[in-house]
């Protein structure tokens, strides 16, 4: 059946122009968004329905520095991808490391917040509905930050070995899309937990 691939008009020789990496990442983001939606619905549904204290108003503090760190890591990762596209490998490494540092600080800040809530305020996942929904929603997001940091670390290790070049910019960008998603979802979680819920 070789004839099926026979010479045809030139406009017919190209397949679709979409590349698989971003498409798959978009698919993952849609699925993840659905998971987050369910947790957010649960958070909003149980808001103010706890049978005992503490309430969000009593114990939550708005994590402003943390939020600034995480959101600015979106900027640094954009700079990193741009630097790689222009062939500035060292600059890429520096921006990439900065992104990881900001992400790690966010995680550290979340850890400190949880320490305070658990040991000082006595709020655990089993205390009341607020504890249940708060730790699971913020924890779901934090686990995504951890996965993102792991991915960033792999790229950083490869960069240190000199294995990441301009030719890989498109692939690195897929990792960056995931990181942007983790940041964007924080905006939603932040709004729900610290603004609407407080």
């Amino acid at each position: 059946m070789n004839t099926i691939a026979a010479n045809s008009t030139p406009e017919l020789t190209a397949g679709p122009s979409l590349s698989r990496g971003p498409v798959a990442m978009a698919g993952l983001i849609i699925a993840e968004s659905a998971i987050f939606t369910i947790f957010i619905v649960a958070y909003l549904f149980y808001l103010g329905k706890s049978l005992s204290g503490p309430t969000p108003q009593e114990v939550l503090k708005v994590p402003i520095v943390n939020t600034i760190c995480l959101l600015s890591s979106s900027v640094t990762i954009t700079c990193a991808v741009r630097a790689l596209g222009r062939g500035r490998n060292l600059s890429f490494g520096v921006w990439w490391f900065a992104t990881m540092a900001l992400g790690s600080y966010f995680l550290f800040g979340t850890g400190r917040e949880w320490m305070r809530l658990i040991y000082e305020k006595g709020l655990t996942i089993g205390t009341n509905l607020f504890g249940t929904t708060f730790y699971s929603l913020v924890g779901l997001h934090a686990s995504h930050v951890i996965v993102g940091l792991a991915a960033l670390l792999v790229v950083l290790a490869l960069t240190a070995c000199g294995a990441v070049q301009t030719a890989h910019a498109k692939r690195i960008e897929v990792v960056a899309i995931y990181w942007h998603f983790v940041d964007a979802i924080w905006v939603v979680v932040f709004t729900v937990v610290y603004i609407i819920g407080r």
């Binding site: 059946m1 099926i4 020789t13 698989r20 798959a24 698919g27 998971i35 369910i38 049978l51």
Partner: protein
Amino acid sequence: MEPSAEHISNAEGLALPVAAAPEKSVFEHLHEWVVTVDHKKLGLMYIVYGLLFLVVGGAEALLIRLQLAVPNNHLISPEAFNQLFTMHGTTMIFLAAMPLVFGFANYLVPLMIGARDLAFPRLNAFGFWLSAFGGLLLYFSLIGGEGLAGAGSAPSVGWFAYSPLTSRAFSVGHSTDYWTLGVLIGSFGSIATAINIIATILCLRCPGMTLMKMPLLPWLYLVVSGMVLLAVSPLTAAQIMLLLDRFLGSHFFDTQAGGSAVLWMHFFWIFGHPEVYILVIPAFAFASEIIPVFSRKAIFGYPIMVGATVAIGFISMSVWAHHMFAVGMTSTGNTFFAISTMLVGIPTGIKIFNWIGTMWGGKIRFATPMLFSIAFLAQFLIAGLTGIMLAAAPFNWQLTDSYFVIAHFHYVIVGAIVFMIFAAIYYWFPKATGRLLDERLGRWHFWLFLIGFHLTFDIMHIPGLLGMPRRIYTYEADRGWGMLNMLCTVGAVFQAAGLLILVFNIVRSLLKGQAAGNDPWDAWTLEWATSSPPPEYNFAETPVVKSRRPLWDLKHPTDPDWKYE
């Protein structure tokens, strides 16, 4: 196997490997299948895995039917009965139907769009092994359900596992944990595979194949995969919450701490109802390939078929609470979900109309795949009609949790989905193996299964209308349900016989079936352009297509389709 260019050019001969490759040991063969990333091998593994669990789930159904055949029966204890219907439902949906559906997608989508493999072959293997592990975990509960040291027990919370039945207080031991983890891990596998299928269809189509020149099967799988992303993920989230409740003492579904059992119902059915369409749209996909070929006509109303599928995908996302009319919603809620459910009838009606339009005036060949497809058309219509009856909230209040509901959804799942899976097996078996399934045995399978299906599920509506509730392990003789239940059980035996004939047919045809050649049905889509079975690389040269029926164009150079499309 040894792929050689000879397979491709050899248009009518056997495409079985001819090269005298050194004989491989069983372990080498096994190793080859375990480490494979080839979409065809993974597809076949999915299908064999699904068929295996179809037989297991079928055996469970048979036991249920034997218990219910006569009143006051004590064949099975009440506890074992609860475990049987839980395992039957979970097995059939997650371990039989989903793998079968994804298996066909794996095998067919790259071939039909002229690609070498799925977009991410290793992710594909990962998805399969996750699903397989999920299934094993569920059945491991039979050994480890009460904790490894004690005797095992299967989960008994029902396939939708309503809260608070699943809480620590009411589900002691680990059987419910195995249920949750098995389903959770399987759902990760499904999401991975869905992402893979979407990326494949959007990025790897062969030159010339625009979206609107794509065969309907990949189109429908594109919609299905999108639905998997949106519908299976909520299940994942709900299972995570359940795990948190059971292991970390959170209170999502704990009513004593203010949690809500109804929230679980919502989360489960946000998955559960689209899941029906995730399973039935592939059945539509098979019908949309098989009916045209055996009617010798192009599909009637291709763009409308695509549009109707997308519409079904959208609408089915907003109908879930029709499973919950009896829970007590506001009248606005009841009205909304009743109307949205009835709306699904419009695009599905359009589809049935178009399949009949395809057959209309065609030169119909009644081969086994077509027999199953025709039965599918009639049965899916009836299933849809009882569906519309149940969508009316007051009618639903009367019949909720009765055998009428059981009869309705088995009409969808067996009458539509299983029948089309059988049709697809008969239709694509020659492509995957190079040998035709035996037609005579196929007819025996078809008629036995058809008679058995109608005996069981037509009659099952009546005890439902008479008030027989689902999930009871036995009933008193004075209810008058005895004769009807006996007939249902006789039908189940017929179906089991049909299924066994299929298994026998598969084994027999694999060993000494008639050689199929590359294109036994004189079909039109790209998978028939390569050898049977296809070489590992699928196509020696990337195909270029100009219409929806590239093989028609090739066979009829003077009257190609692209002149009219």
